[in-house]
């Protein structure tokens, strides 16, 4: 896809503030042991052959830059094209809910004008799915649409996603929050590059809006069509959704669908040795990352890299992130333990399945 460039927006915050996203942008939220949320957006773009990707940064971009670096792990360290780090506007002045804030795009107009591509594929960093974007792009060209949005029939109510009113595959309206059966927007769309530049002029006066909010009065003029995706999708805009999207991966069918070798999800690589399951350890129905050392008991849980579970310690129904140590005799249950925490010997971190406990990131 030499004629297509990508753009990932990271400059938005989730409505629900939790300790997980207070310390970092949603894009760099650790996911399934070794990944970060943004890996899906990046890998989906790269896996369809795109080698030019811009990322609009939030003000607290440190962890994103730390993760993506030069883009090498996604083959985005190119002589031509490659990874472009683009500044986002400061918070406070903008509405935080906007995922494709016009101002952020217009401020980075040069990224689009300097390109000779035909089209741009946009994405945010808060959805988990592995889609072949070549198919979406082919459908976009075949239908002659101005914009093709990736959607899925909402399997349940979700107040945090965007939904479209659709008639015969054509978008008639847009609103926030999806109810069961509506066309849920997967925050991923294809648009002609020239049309996008035109829109920058059309909507310049309302640059505080989300691109689709600005477009809302124009669905008669702009042909926006849906591409319905029926594979696994997890929108991750809340603590509960984050917990569930992780736990979904304890189902090998979901993992196989999300991590096929032919369309692998790429991430920053580290030189950590394989996980060591020590003598006497007991691990069932769990995902274990490299560098982990397990002496104790782990069930129905996901461990990030370099986690130590000492003898006599128990981890159940939990997500334990990179670099944590669960000391001897400690219990972690229905909890999300953010990076670098030490759970002291004999202590408990316990939530309920309905309300998981979050232990915020330890000060480093």
């Amino acid at each position: 896809m030499e004629k297509v460039i990508g753009l990932i927006t990271c400059n938005y915050s989730t409505k629900e503030s939790s300790p997980l996203t207070e310390s970092r942008p949603a894009a760099s939220l650790p996911y399934f042991g070794r990944y970060r949320m943004v890996d899906f957006a990046l890998s989906n773009l790269v896996n369809c052959g795109i080698r030019t990707v811009g990322m609009v940064m939030p003000y607290n971009y440190r962890s994103i830059i730390d993760h993506v670096g030069s883009g090498k792990d996604w083959d985005l360290d190119r002589k031509n094209g490659g990874l472009f780090i683009l500044p986002g506007s400061a918070f406070g002045t903008s509405r935080t809910g906007a995922r494709f804030l016009l101002r952020d795009l217009i401020h980075n107009k040069a990224y689009f004008t300097r390109s000779t591509s035909d089209a741009v594929i946009f994405s945010t960093a808060n959805f988990v799915f592995n889609v072949d974007l070549n198919k979406v792009y082919d459908a976009h060209k075949a239908s002659g649409a101005d914009v093709t949005v990736l959607t899925k029939t909402a399997p349940e109510k979700d107040p945090d996603v965007t939904a479209f009113d659709v008639e015969d595959g054509r978008v008639q309206g847009v609103h926030h929050g999806a109810t069961f059966g509506e066309s849920m927007f997967l925050d991923c769309f294809v648009i002609g590059r020239q049309l996008l530049l035109d829109m920058f002029d059309w909507y310049a006066a309302t640059d505080y809006l989300d691109l689709f909010e600005a477009m809302a009065g124009d669905f008669g003029r702009v042909n926006v069509r849906t591409y319905d995706y029926d594979g696994y999708v997890a929108p991750v805009f809340s603590k509960r959704a984050f917990y569930r999207a992780n736990m979904d991966l304890l189902n090998p069918r979901v993992t196989a669908e999300l991590f096929p070798e032919e369309r692998s999800i790429k991430t920053k690589t580290h030189d950590t040795p394989p996980a060591k399951f020590e003598v006497g350890s007991r691990v069932i129905n769990s995902a274990v990352s490299s560098g982990d050392r397990i002496y104790g008991s782990v069930s129905d849980s996901i461990l990030g890299r370099n986690v130590i579970v000492e003898a006599g310690a128990t981890v159940r129904n939990s997500i334990v992130m990179q670099g944590c140590v669960v000391k001897s005799g400690a219990r972690v249950e229905n909890a999300i333990v953010d990076r670098a925490n030490v759970v002291p010997a004999g202590t408990e971190l316990r939530g309920t399945p309905e309300d998981v406990l979050i232990k915020e990131k330890a000060h480093e």
Partner: protein, 382 residues
């Protein structure tokens, strides 16, 4: 170590024929080890961790996997301008070309590479040994001794000394004698095949050796004895850490097992001197509801629905329901299907043990079972 003070020549062309099925389609340095590594990772990581950034890798036997694995060397931070990794296979000139005939000959044929880099010292390494060593310490010793050649040595049990190339040295470490597999050893210092030469000494002795029709062009057999004879300053550098040359199936298996247990002889978890590798990006390992894993190293991408005990499960290895894997090494992508049993075995990359099939035996008097890369073992075949 400054940039071109010392360069390394890494000998990676050997077939490793005693590794049998494991090297039937890859060179020995490219054989997988320790779950996520390949054998050459250890030498390359030692170079990177020692600050040596110019490394010539001499390849010959079945080089495709090795070449693609090394790539630009970036996985070991060896993708540097004006240095980094150079892959050096045999090549032709106006007067023809030749295969590498022995360790010294391989380096001789690449004297041009050494001269282009114009280093003061040249480190000669094997790409098929497992150990962690700071070559910078060895270089310091070489300089301190004002040596022409420094040879890394390791004390071995006296009763085993007759299996090695043994160096006899004075109290100051100066070598007085080199004996290949002595019947009556007078020293227990075994050569590890790791050499630091002062570059001019190396270049001169290789040029002389190349003209000698009777020479086998081997460092141990020809170059070192000749330098001793000439009265050059040869010194030992004693190393006391973990070091293995996994030359045979049984030593490969034994060394793999050395990584297991509560206090493994070789700690691959060290963060100060990390072993780097060009690993693929795979999801975390998964243990199923009825899975059981005890005393195992498990790499990313593994799926375990059965039982694994005292084993190494490399990237993307698979253990099916009711299957058991004991005292074994599953190389990347090896698949043990439902109900199969694998004991004291090494399963090659992407090999498959079909459902309910047994491989290997607990009987210690029998050889370790080996299944070659990509081989499928069905019923009645083993």
């Amino acid at each position: 170590m400054s940039k071109k003070e010392c360069i390394a020549m890494l000998l990676a062309g050997g077939q490793g024929s005693r590794l049998g099925a494991l090297t039937s389609n890859v060179a020995k340095p490219a054989v997988s080890f320790g779950g996520k590594f390949r054998i050459i990772d250890f030498a390359l990581s030692n170079c990177a961790n020692s600050g040596i950034t110019t490394v010539g890798v001499l390849t010959q036997y079945r080089p495709y996997l090795l070449h693609s694995y090394i790539g630009t060397g970036e996985a070991w931070n060896l993708d540097e301008r004006g240095g980094g990794v150079a892959i050096l296979p045999p090549f032709a000139t106006q007067t023809g070309g030749a295969w590498y005939e022995g360790t010294a000959d391989a380096v001789t044929q690449n004297l041009g590479y050494i001269e282009t880099n114009d280093p003061e010292y040249v480190l000669i390494l094997s790409g098929d040994q497992l150990y962690r060593m700071d070559y910078d310490d060895m270089l310091e010793a070489h300089k301190r001794n004002n040596a022409d050649l420094t040879i890394a040595v390791m004390p071995v049990p006296w009763e085993e000394a007759s299996r090695f190339g043994i160096l006899t040295a004075g109290e100051d470490g100066r070598i007085t004698k080199f004996t290949e597999k002595p019947k009556k050893p007078d020293s227990n210092l075994a050569s590890m095949g790791i050499y630091i030469f002062s570059a001019d000494v190396l270049i001169n002795s290789l040029k002389e050796d190349a003209l000698d029709q009777t020479s086998d062009h081997d460092f141990g057999g020809n170059i070192i004895p000749k330098l001793l004879e000439e009265g050059k300053r040869l010194f030992t550098y004693e190393f006391n850490g973990f070091w293995r040359d996994v030359g045979t199936i049984s030593s490969y298996h034994e060394t793999s097992m050395d990584l297991l247990g509560p206090n493994p002889a070789f700690d691959i978890f060290s963060t100060t001197f990390p072993i780097m590798s060009n690993a693929s990006t795979r999801p975390p390992a998964f243990v199923g509801k009825d899975g059981s894993v005890d005393d195992c190293l498990v790499a990313n991408g593994c799926q375990i629905y059965g039982t694994a005990k005292h084993s190494i499960l490399s990237t993307d290895a698979y253990v099916g329901e009711r299957a058991t894997v004991v005292d074994s090494v599953l190389l990347p992508g090896a698949k043990v299907k439902d109900g199969a049993h694998v004991v004291r075995a090494i399963l090659g990359e992407n090999s498959v043990v079909e459902e309910n099939v047994s491989v290997g035996s607990v009987d210690q008097t029998k050889d370790t079972a080996v299944i070659g890369n990509d081989v499928v073992v069905g019923k009645g075949e083993n």
